[in-house]
Symmetry: C2
Subunit: 402 residues, 2 copies
């Protein structure tokens, strides 16, 4: 077990490791390989070496990259290069990203023609985040306007996010998903400067309640991916599904809300749930966290359930670092060390840079892409940025206690 002093000493080295990986490896990888200087926007399908292997543009990944370079500009350093990268994506999205009702498409061709309809509200969620951050970075109020309009549209679509693309027969088994309240709990803080304070509070209350009281199930100590519309459990494939990584990501969102509201109860509850999810999701045989589990331990309908995904481990590390920073719970630091050890020895690619995304259960590389349809310039750099800053705050607060 790490003593207070060791934690302090480690964390100085660790914060440098996170900062260096962000600014010396991952950010340059995306700047070097992903910019479509000819047609605008970004290539996200990059092979192991960074070479583009597919030119389609997935709107949510475009948005995530705009957000990432905007937040680097806002919170690390006002480098013009970073603002230019963000604006390269934003201009493309502004021109091609939405249908006439302001819904964001799921995918576009390289030149920006709509390819896949706005069936997925997560394009909209990341568009609101992107344009809100870029509005701050650029001072351009047109971006604020897009963010505000998109956020309002998300709240309107909240009860039927898939709209006409919903394949469920109406009324037979009404249900709701964890992803939207979870994302809202983070998104609302991202757009807080653009909307009425009372609306911010309403959305935080809603998201916190849904996550902690509806999707988190006290009796199991787990967070479910789907529940019935009335909040009850469903003994179905959807209703039994647990995604430990999703739950862990949401717990650090809620810790940040706990900090914002000085809500110690919410903070400690979030830490406890995160620790329980780690105990539940850890693979004792091969190490790492499972992608999906079934809460009744019956067979899943997901063939990828046992795989080890980059973002799951990154979000778990952030949950533990933030948990430690906010509460000094030693179990958080111990879990951080275990997760950090697994992640840094399995995911980074020492030869070509950036992180692999998809490992099999044994931790061997399953797909050696650096980006694709579901992996872009988002989780890894956000993790390194958040990890760096959290470790910095830990080193700043620790000396007094040594």
């Amino acid at each position: 077990m790490a003593s207070g002093k060791q934690t302090y000493m480690d964390s100085i080295e660790l914060k440098e490791q996170y900062r260096q990986a962000l600014l010396g490896d991952v950010v340059p990888f995306w700047i070097d390989n992903s910019l479509d200087k000819e047609l605008g926007g970004y290539f996200t399908c990059l092979d192991r070496s960074g070479k583009v292997y597919d030119t389609d543009k997935f709107v949510w990944l475009q948005c995530r990259q705009v957000w990432l370079f905007s937040i680097l500009y806002n919170e690390v350093e006002q480098r013009e290069e970073w603002l230019d990268v963000a604006q390269l994506g934003a201009a493309f999205l502004e021109k091609h990203g939405r249908d006439r009702q302001g819904n964001w498409y799921f995918a576009l061709t390289q030149e920006g023609k709509p390819l896949v309809q706005p069936y997925n509200i997560f394009s909209d969620c990341f568009a609101a985040m992107a344009f809100a951050q870029l509005g701050k970075a650029s001072g351009n109020s047109a971006y604020d306007h897009i963010a505000r309009q998109t956020f309002s549209n998300i709240l309107t679509r909240r009860d039927n996010p898939k709209g006409i693309y919903n394949k469920s027969y109406p009324g037979t088994r009404p249900m709701k998903g964890f992803a939207l309240p979870m994302i809202l709990s983070n998104l609302v803080l991202e757009v807080a400067h653009l909307v009425e304070p009372s609306q911010v509070d309403t959305v935080i209350d809603y998201a916190t309640h849904e996550v902690m009281e509806v999707f988190h199930r006290k009796e199991m100590g787990l967070i479910l991916e789907n529940v019935a519309l009335d909040g009850s459990k469903m003994d179905t494939f959807d209703g039994r599904l647990v995604s430990p990584g999703h739950g862990l990501e949401s717990m650090w969102f809620l810790m940040d809300i706990g900090a914002r509201r000085s809500d110690q109860e919410l903070m400690h509850k979030s830490v406890d749930i995160a620790l329980a999810l780690l105990e539940y999701g850890w693979d004792d045989t091969h190490g790492g966290l499972f992608y999906f589990l079934d809460c009744k331990n019956v067979p899943l309908d997901r063939l990828d359930w046992d795989q080890k995904l980059w973002w799951v481990h990154q979000e778990a590390i952030l949950a533990m670092l933030k948990g430690y920073m906010y509460t000094k719970n030693q179990r958080c630091w111990d879990w951080f060390e275990k997760l950090h050890g697994y992640a840094w020895s399995h995911f980074p690619d020492a030869q070509y840079g950036e992180w692999y995304g998809y490992l099999n259960r044994r931790g061997e590389v399953l797909l050696d892409l650096k980006g694709g349809k579901w992996k872009g310039c988002f989780h890894t750099p956000r993790f390194l940025f958040q990890g760096w800053r959290t470790l910095e705050r830990i080193t700043q607060s620790n000396p007094a206690s040594v």
Copy 2:
């Protein structure tokens, strides 16, 4: 290399192995565990031991089981028990399976309420097959009528099988999938006794042309899962996708068409393509056939690409057995032996019976279900039945040549 005599001797033992596994293991497993005697239809979500772990009813799997018990009745033995099993599913489907336009839902609740809309035309394809076989078995012309109507509906929906549930933006990248012409090449023979002979020929011509001249690409020696509507290749995730198992299954459908039409050229071409697909799809490191590959060998968007699925291996074995039966090509027998060895040493569950469906790349069990949302009472018993009968014909034809 097997001599003609060895082949003959082996095939007598082998046909007994296939027959015994069908009638002594797999068929009893489904009779014992899958019948919903209370509400009708079948449970298909059966765990390793056969216990029901989910009660939803997936229409295409319901249809496949009706078909299976009907063909056993029609072609193995007229056991009343088998006809009763088929009718248990058919009565449920007849009552609950369709919307007002006669489209077949994708999923129903245990009691038959519609759960998932008819977004997937494969429900309809297997409904047509099921009711056509059961019409033969029962002599009930109402079943023939359902089969005929459904078949006609499939041909109408052929150009836009997903209908309003299609998420592609119209016009940007019009494309078509391999699955429908492939299934039609088999389905048309199943319903041949119910439709005009000229229509049978038209559909066979269409399906054969699409499979052999459009989806099969001479320059690569592969079958693509998706091509542009004009038949050109697409350098996109969909356009690069290859499913060796799908291709191999379609090749034995086309061998059967070649036999029906005494078309030696089609027969030999089908055998050659099947052999090329095996060379391409075989995993030299761990054995078995990959589930998906990318024809340009760039990263796929499928996390399950390297898994070893039961049906892929079963369809490959049938392609080789039929290829050998029809052409006596020794490469078919050699590949049959290799595939048979892999499949029988990895998939059957010696303890609880039936076959596992999902193995990881190393051939270890990934999900120990015997049935779920995508695996039911279909591929394994069809494979054992077809394998038995094909081996029987091989043993009958071989003595003369020894």
